[in-house]
Symmetry: C4
Subunit: 238 residues, 4 copies
Amino acid sequence: MSPLAPDPGLVEKLAIANRILFQKSVVDGFGHVSVRHDKSPEHFLLARNMAPALVTRDDIVTFDLNGNAIDGAGRRVYLERFIHGEIYRARPDVHSIVHSHSPSVIPFGVTGQPLRPIFHMSGFLGEGAALFEIREVAGDTDMLISDSRLGVALAAALGARSTVLMRGHGSTVVGASIEQAVYRAIYAEVNAKLQIQAMTLGEITYLNSQEAAKAAAINDTQLARTWELWLREIGTIE
Amino acid sequence: MSPLAPDPGLVEKLAIANRILFQKSVVDGFGHVSVRHDKSPEHFLLARNMAPALVTRDDIVTFDLNGNAIDGAGRRVYLERFIHGEIYRARPDVHSIVHSHSPSVIPFGVTGQPLRPIFHMSGFLGEGAALFEIREVAGDTDMLISDSRLGVALAAALGARSTVLMRGHGSTVVGASIEQAVYRAIYAEVNAKLQIQAMTLGEITYLNSQEAAKAAAINDTQLARTWELWLREIGTIE
Amino acid sequence: MSPLAPDPGLVEKLAIANRILFQKSVVDGFGHVSVRHDKSPEHFLLARNMAPALVTRDDIVTFDLNGNAIDGAGRRVYLERFIHGEIYRARPDVHSIVHSHSPSVIPFGVTGQPLRPIFHMSGFLGEGAALFEIREVAGDTDMLISDSRLGVALAAALGARSTVLMRGHGSTVVGASIEQAVYRAIYAEVNAKLQIQAMTLGEITYLNSQEAAKAAAINDTQLARTWELWLREIGTIE
Amino acid sequence: MSPLAPDPGLVEKLAIANRILFQKSVVDGFGHVSVRHDKSPEHFLLARNMAPALVTRDDIVTFDLNGNAIDGAGRRVYLERFIHGEIYRARPDVHSIVHSHSPSVIPFGVTGQPLRPIFHMSGFLGEGAALFEIREVAGDTDMLISDSRLGVALAAALGARSTVLMRGHGSTVVGASIEQAVYRAIYAEVNAKLQIQAMTLGEITYLNSQEAAKAAAINDTQLARTWELWLREIGTIE
């Protein structure tokens, strides 16, 4: 094992996270989840270019923060690995990142409507998600975060928040652990769906910032409960 | 068996209720269902702190109305067991309680839009669900019913109704039996979804109070039919 | 076998129809489907009082048009069997009837919004579904068609159409065969869902009456295609 | 093998495409997918008249561009095979065509609301889908493309685009390969669903034509990823 060999348990947990995010419809054939390397804060783990639902331990590749695969062995890599590298560089508190096209979140990014915490499960949304408009930094593109410069701009838009909406593309959610990032990605989607429906009924009383912070703190003590459920739901993976 | 050992059939039915509520998407990793103890009106049965979908007979704990586990054996308990204790104290007619974040119901609680019976299956909604605003009794909180004082306030908001919406949180539904509480929790969700859709079409003619009362009475004679179906749908539980 | 013993193939097809309607979410624990007796136009076949998803051949009971079970053998029967009896009496062309609380159709009945054919698959909706308001004939009730008088009123509201919306309750769809009634019940639900969504986008160009009639006629030549699929989807039944 | 025997791998892929489109709810009991013949641009492959979910290799029939089955062997054929023949004739760049009643797309066709690319996954929508109003070319019909004249008119409405909405009927999507046509049909549905939701939130910033073209180009390099997933999801076919 090389000095930079990651904890096998972390690699397995990352494969599981891929499966959970698919089972919960946060990702489809596209989207990805990474974790910061347990032995080097300058590296992260991410699957090779493939559908998240099919990821196994053997598909996990180690990258440096510039998005270079250090054990790629010629495997195709995700075009948007720069999302991960640049957020890990900008945010030392972040240890896991989910990028997805989570369906109910898309309408917020394309209309500029704020995504805000409608209930205690999404206290992590705080005073709302950030919004990234790629046109402002790069004009007319293919919408992808396909290099470090765009990754830096996305990380800047994210700032200190948990969630950034990407106009015409999707969203990126960060956390202090795989469990937390996966939880947040799932409940960002749930919150978005609820918010769209509630907006048709009348004016919404969102959690205020105090409520959001307190709810987020207490919910973080319950992460093991949902992880245990989601693990059971995906069944064994090869 | 201790003098307070509950009927094993009741314990099994409570485990089943957990599974049914998950299968019907009323609960996800969160939410809980309880039943009043068959040998003591001053006690109730509730699972330990875990995802409802995974509850087995062995996970059922006995609590007193203050929310103290009397056979907890060190197991973690739900933070919001006070919902159950205080409603059982305030409402002798209630023998089962479902607390959930049932998705279509959330939009009503956060907008103050009344949840009303749109069809005969939800006659139990009577002239509408009650609404609980935690800010009015406790200011900025983590939104949870985390002590007896908040439980008392929630029970007061519920009053004599079957359902109370909890702003920024979820809802709580009560019944005279597990079957009835589960039925009501499922059809509160169905009613909410229908009502949201119908409100986009025009002004709704709801069941009036006479219709609601009569429909609720006749539907209660049919509870065994749905229970038999739901039991079949969840399959055998370990 | 008694002189009135129905064709075993018809009994089996009726059991299958129950399963299909559940698999397609037209019925849940409630709702029912009947067929006119193949040997007597004055009788019809309908399951005993139970969830449609669980119906087997042995659960099929023969009724006369007044709603009396002639081979009930003490089994509980549906409270609303009068829907079937009175429509068969009023409409000699009808050979199968589906009564359901099909979810997307409910919003039309409670708002009086016309349910109209949005695409060729629902040409059977013609110039729109009929609407039945039980208050007009019986004041404040439990909403059920619980006797022959109410069945007669419902049949009168249906008139010569294929579909009648029942305010605060559900809908009833008729056909010349089990296959056609099941098809219509499924596509009434599909049409309703599409129509609700389309109404949020702008003014809808519905099929006009010529288009609806022509589309209905051509679709009736394709009923075997969907029946074969639905049969495969439910799998074998005990 | 006759001189015009198609590549067995292509036949199998077409059977798979049928299954995928059903699994993704783009088709139900109706709808069809074809591929241009690999040995003759004047012919195409299409299943016999049946539900797409049940199609096997043996159900694939070869047609000429006039819609004549050349190896039909008496099997019933789709009434709307002229959609395929006339588009293949008009568009040499097209090698696969999906016709469906994909649910979220229907509301656009019946209201004339433009279907436009809301995110990079649907860059193929370019500046919007085309719209076909059958009344303009044939008056009151059964809505079907049931002869070559109607097929020609539909192909003319499609023009150089990837997608044409058919008022009161469905839509047709074309591609340069089975993988691309299936991808587009699936993401046309996804885009439509997102667009309906986003329109309730506010004014949408769509991909502009430059963004759409660039996104479509880059996504075409990722088609194998989704195909691999979808293949896994349908399981083995008989």
